[in-house]
Amino acid sequence: MARSFIQPSPMPGLGLSAGITLAMLALVVLAPIGALLVQGASLGAEGLWAEVNRPRVWAALGLSFRLAALAAAVNLGLGLVLAWALERYDFPGRRLLDAAVDLPFALPTAVAGIALTALYAPSGAFGALAARLGGRIAYTEAGIFLALLFVGLPFVTRTVQPVVAEIDRELEEASATLGAGRLTTLRRVIWPMLMPAALTGFALALARGVGEYGSVIFIAGNLPMQTEIAPLLIVIKLEEFDDAGAAAIGVAMLAISFVMLLAINLLQVWSRRRMGDV
């Protein structure tokens, strides 16, 4: 009986709230994801491998995961610095910047995509600058990287910022009185406290970057084997009525993301255990 799972409570609305939650979760999220997994399973392991083991699919998956990891890593550094500056330093425009950090979350991805392209294409200001220096940004991997940097920027900042706000300054003073220089304090005292939150932000930015579509396709160039991201290849396969091929790439993306997020979670557990929970 389900009752044994639920402790008795005088609160009303158990049946109604649990019913609405489970029914909507099943219809909106679980049924479609289940259909994807069933479609993947119906191909069998060999069928899945045959769909995924093609040069064009490998190139797209490799590009998406490589650039998402790179962008998340850069955002990890930038996010830590931004979170630190916003919490610890006082400067004109701090509150404005604090509010505006979330802009990439609120801005529709297609809008970000065409705006970035307008700026970084050879006809745009930054694109023209790059062209004078002999480089190209839009329609190359650099453009995709830039779009992923844009959409992933707030994640690390927003997960780390509350932790910075909670840090007890007496810890830093204790570290200083024991003779540690500022750099040693940052590395040995502050960083261990920030690391779990920073990793959470990194994982979120990574997951977002791997699946990102709207902001990337305008600036990417979308050349097969070169600048074609995995989500775009799914869209192309669907347009060719290749449901099996699309499902195989979708399952592969889910599986790789799952393994990566699991690894990051384990890293977090390890760092918490080693550094002590904060």
Partner: protein, 280 residues
């Protein structure tokens, strides 16, 4: 500067350098594209931008986007309220799993979400074929756009409410119950006033995402002009047809919406009813 402060911060020159570097990088990456977008919309003057917004295609897209948000945001709010009530007012096994499942849409690519809906409801599937036979197609029609939007906005309200409701506890609800209030009365007169700020924050974010969703809608909508082309989809079509002013004019409308959402969210935060914009 006092001795106490000096040991817990960095040298002033380093501080200024960090602020300059972080602020400058942010301005180049986020602010510059925004300014460029508005400039593109106004490239041929405000008249041309406004005229392109009045075109039938743009008006149909705006109507559709408003309709989709009007359907999905209330449904998402009802789900969020129900999920938060269940998760914070009762003790049961499997809470962590339930929360992970509610969060799932945040870690699934919108394109994969669209793909999953196509596999479930597309004309090639048994369910989709039957629905088409009944005259209610889902994919390449309004229901598909609604389901895709619901998927990507699903966790927002629940995520905004759960931490607030955990913190508040259930003592006040229990007091109202012992005084004889019915369940709905407890909800409307005790709980709802306490969570209004968080609920509003969650709804604002869900609305911004609903009106701006691109990847999931692009897959399920079929991009039929005047029927399933939402504002973001129409922006893409106009952009690919080199109708730059029209594309950027519509984009400017969505940008203004995003800025308003941020402003409202910031004001709510300052009033003390925050909820993380990422939902985490």
């Amino acid at each position: 500067m006092s001795e106490r402060l000096r040991v817990t911060t960095e040298a002033p020159a380093l501080r200024r350098g960090v602020i300059g570097a972080a602020g400058g990088r942010w301005a180049r990456l986020v602010l510059a594209p925004l300014v460029r977008g508005f400039a593109q919309a106004l490239a041929k003057g405000p008249g041309a931008a406004l005229a392109s917004l009045a075109a039938p295609e743009a008006r149909a897209a705006i109507r559709l986007t408003l309709l989709v948000a009007a359907i999905t945001v209330p449904l998402g709010a009802v789900f969020g309220l129900a999920a938060a009530w269940w998760l914070t007012r009762f003790e049961f096994r499997g809470k962590a799993l339930l929360i992970s499942l509610i969060d799932l849409p945040f870690s699934v690519s919108p394109v994969v979400a669209g793909l999953a809906l196509v596999l479930l409801f597309g004309a090639n599937s048994s369910l989709g074929g039957w629905l088409v036979g009944q005259g209610v197609p889902v994919i390449f029609a309004l229901p598909g756009v609604v389901l895709a939007t619901l998927f990507v906005t699903f966790p927002f309200v629940a995520r905004a409410l759960i931490p607030v409701m955990v913190e508040q506890g259930r003592a006040e609800e229990e007091a109202a119950l012992t005084l004889g209030a019915g369940g709905w009365r407890v909800f409307f007169t005790v709980t709802l006033p306490k969570i209004r700020g968080a609920l509003l924050a969650g709804v604002l974010l869900a609305n911004a995402r609903a009106m701006g969703e691109f990847g999931a809608v692009a897959v399920v909508s079929g991009k039929i002009r005047g029927q399933t082309a939402t504002v973001p989809i129409t922006i893409e079509m106009l952009y690919n047809e080199y109708l730059t002013v029209a594309a950027f004019a519509l984009a400017a409308v969505l940008t203004a919406l995003a800025l308003l959402t941020l402003l409202a969210k910031t004001l709510l935060d300052r009033a003390g009813h925050g909820a993380g914009l990422s939902g985490h």
